[in-house]
C-alpha cells in the first residue's frame, strides 16, 4: 500500500511532469499523509515547494509549515536548508514560518533545552500534534549528536537533552542505541578514542606517478 503510493508519486515527479501544477492537490495530500503516518519523502516535498515557486499564487502556508516541520524530523540531514532555499521573502514573513525558522535555528545550534521549552508553548504544541512522532524524531537527532560527541555522559544531562524524560523512557533510549548505564549516574556511549585519534598525514607516492619518470630516465 505504502509502496504503491510512493510509486504513484514518483511517477508524478518524472521529467517535465514534475512541474505540472495540476499535480499539486495530490502532492499536498501526500504531505498530509506523511505527517499522519510518520513517513517521509523529501523529494516529493521539495517538488511541492518548487511548484509554489513556479506558481506563487497557489502556495498554501499550512502545507509549507508541515513540510518544514517534517524536514526537522530528518535532522541531522540538511533537508530543512534545502526547503528553506526554495521559499521566498514573502513566505518567511508568515508568523508560523518565522517561528519554525527559529525552532530550526535552535536545533541546529544544538540548544536542546531551549528547544523543549519552546515546543511546549501552546502555538507550537497545536501544530506539532498533527505530526506523528515529531518529538521522538527530534530525540533521535539528539541521540545522534550525543552519540558522536560523548564517550560517557552524565545521566541527568542526557535526560535534559532528551526533553526531561523520566527514568523509564531514558532507559529505553539508552537501550535502543546500545549504550550502557554505569555506576555514579554515568552512561557509557561508545569508545570514541578508537575513531577520534590524532592523525599524521605523511607523504605517499603512488607507483603510477613515479613510474613514468623512472622509465624515462633510464
Amino acid at each position: 500500500m505504502e509502496d504503491g503510493r510512493k510509486q504513484t508519486i514518483a511517477n508524478l515527479l518524472k521529467d517535465i511532469e514534475r512541474y505540472n501544477p495540476e499535480n499539486l492537490p495530490t502532492l499536498e495530500c501526500y504531505v498530509e499523509h506523511q505527517c499522519r503516518e510518520n513517513t517521509y519523502d523529501l523529494e516529493a516535498n521539495l517538488a511541492v515547494l518548487k511548484l509554489y515557486q513556479l506558481n506563487p499564487q497557489r502556495y498554501n502556508i499550512g502545507i509549507i509549515c508541515q513540510i518544514l516541520l517534517k524536514a526537522l524530523t530528518n535532522l541531522p540531514h540538511t533537508d530543512f536548508v534545502l526547503c528553506k532555499c526554495l521559499l521566498n521573502a514573502k513566505h518567511l514573513e508568515e508568523s508560523l514560518v518565522k517561528q519554525i525558522m527559529q525552532l530550526a535555528d535552535v536545533l541546529e545550534r544544538c540548544d536542546f533545552r531551549e528547544f523543549w521549552a519552546r515546543i511546549h508553548t501552546p502555538e507550537f504544541a497545536d501544530n506539532v500534534v498533527h505530526i506523528t512522532g515529531f518529538h521522538d524524531s527530534i530525540r533521535k537527532y539528539v541521540c545522534h549528536v550525543v552519540g558522536i560527541t560523548f564517550q560517557t555522559v552524565d545521566k541527568t544531562l542526557l535526560a535534559g537533552l532528551l526533553g526531561g524524560v523520566d527514568d523509564q523512557t531514558l532507559k529505553q533510549w539508552v537501550k535502543k542505541y546500545g549504550w550502557k548505564e554505569e555506576a555514579n549516574g554515568i552512561i557509557f556511549v561508545a569508545n570514541q578514542d578508537e575513531n577520534i585519534k590524532t592523525k599524521n598525514i605523511t607523504e605517499k607516492i603512488d607507483f603510477e606517478n613515479a613510474a613514468a619518470i623512472m622509465a624515462a630516465s633510464q
Binding site: 540538511t78 536548508v81 564517550q151 606517478n209
Partner: protein, 553 residues
Amino acid sequence: MYGNDDYVDQAPYDMNGYMSPADHEALEGHDDAGYEQPMYTNIPDGVKKFLVYLRDCINEGVVYEISNLYETTFPRLTEQYFENVPWPEVSEIKNLVNCDPVFLILYRELYYRHIYAHIPHGPTLMQRFDSYATYCELFNYIINASEPVPLDLPDIWLWELIDEFVYQYQSFSQYRANLMKRTPEELELLNQNNQVWNVLCVLNVLCSLVEKSNIKRQLEVHASGGDAESVAGEFGRYPLYKKLGYFSLVGLLRLHSLCGDYYLAIRVLDNIELHRKSQFSYVPACQITVSYYVGFAYMMMRRYSDAIRTFTSILLYIQRTKQLFQTRSYQNDQINKQTDRMYHLLAICLVLHPQYVDEAIQQVLREKNYHEKMYKMQCGDLAEFEACFAFACPKFLAPAPPVDAPVEDYVKEPINHQIRVFMDEVKQQKMIPTIRSYLKLYTTLPLAKLAMFLSSESHRHGEAVKSRDLNEAIEGLITQLLCFKHKMKNIVWTKGTSGLDGIFQSGSELDFYMDNDMIHIADTTVSHRYADFFIRKILKFQELNRKLHMIKF
C-alpha cells in the same frame, strides 16, 4: 511530451504559435529603434567569404574546419569589424548564403549572442523576444524531426549554444524583474507575452533534448560498464543529439541552481562521474561550469568535504592546463571569472571546515587577497562572509515573473534570500572557530577550564567569574560543543552513481570527544609534500631537454 502540454494555457514553446502576427509586426517596427544602425551597407569581403565558407563547411559536415571558423575566425572578425556594432542582419546576408534555412537560424543565434555580449546597454526587449524565437526555431528543428537531422557541429559550439540559452533566460528574468527600469510600453508588451522566455519553456527544451537523446540511459549503462551506444536509440547515437543531451543536463544543473533548488541540481547529474573527467565532453568550459555549480550546491547543503573536493580538483585542473586556454580569449575571460569565484567559495568552505588541500591550491590561497579574507572570516567577520558569498554565488532568480506587482526592483530578492540562508548557517557556526583555536592547544582539556577561557574572553575587563556563572557557562559550552560536532559531521560522497549519496563523516582536521567532563582532542598534522612538486618539475625539464635536442643548428 512537449508542444501539447495541457497544463499551461499556451503551449510553453511551439514552432509557430509563440507570438501572434501582431507581435511580429511590432517586432519589425521596433527593430531599428534599439541601437544605432551600423554603417555597413557593404559587408566587408572577408566577412562575406567567411559566411559562405562557414555555410559550406556546415553543409558538408567538416567539423574540424567549423570548429576553427567558430573559435578563431568569428571572434577575429568580430574584433575587426563588429567590436561594438551588431553583425549584419539576417536579411542582409540571406542572399549571400542562398537562403539556406538551417544556416540562417544558426547565424541568427550567433548574431544575437554577439549583441548580448558586445553591444553597450545590451539587447532591447524586441531583440530578446526575437532571440527567444530563434531558439524555438532551432530546437524545434532538432527535436521535432522524425529522423535525426543532418547537422554536425563541434562540441564547443553545442555547449555554448545550451549555455547561452540558459544565460539569456537568466538575463531575461533579471530584465523582467526590474520593473523600475521598464517603460510602460515595455511592461505592457512583457505582460502580453508572458510565455516568452517562460521558465517552463526553458525546462521543456532542456528536458526534451535529454529525452530525445536517451542520455540518461546512456550514462547509466556507461556507469555500469556497458556500451552506451547499445541503448542510445535512433537519435542518441548521433553526436549532435548525444552532446546536446549531455549539455542540457548541465543546463538543468545551472537552471535549478539559479532557482535555489540544489537537490534537483545534483540529482540531474546522476550517473555522471563528477570526480572524473567526463567521457562525454571534452569541453573545459562545461567541466568548469559543472564543478562550480556542483561545488556550490554541496556548500549550501553543508557538505563541505564534497564541496572542497569538487573545487580543488577543478582548480588544480585549471592550474595545470592554463596554457591551453590562453589562445582563446573570449573563453578565457569567463574561465578566469569562474576560477576567482571558486577560490572564494573554497576559502569560505575551508574557514568553516578546515581540512588539508593540495599544496598548489594552498599556495594560491596564501597569496593575493584570499589570505586576508580568510583571516577576517576566521575572526568571525560576518560582513566578510557575506561579501565573499555575494561575490561568488550564482546570479539567483525567481522563476515566476512579478505579475500585478507594485513597480519595484525585484532583481535582488532571490539573491538576498540565498544570502540569508547562508548567513543563518554561518551565524549558527560562529563560535566554532574560537573553540577550535583553544582546542588546538591541548590534547585533553577539562570542560570547566575551557568554559573559563571562553567567558574570560567575553568579560575582558577583569571581572571575576562567579561560580554560578561558571555553571551556566559550562552548560552553554556543552551546547556549543554539541553544535561543533554536529556541524562538522556531514554527509560525504564515497561511492555510488548519485552525487547525493554519501555517509556521515568528520572530515575536518580537528576533532574531539567528551568523556563526561573531559574533552579529548585529536588534531591532524600534515607533513610537507615534495613529491608532486618534483615530479612536475622533472617532467618539465624532460620536456625541455627533448625540445633542446630537436633544435638543429
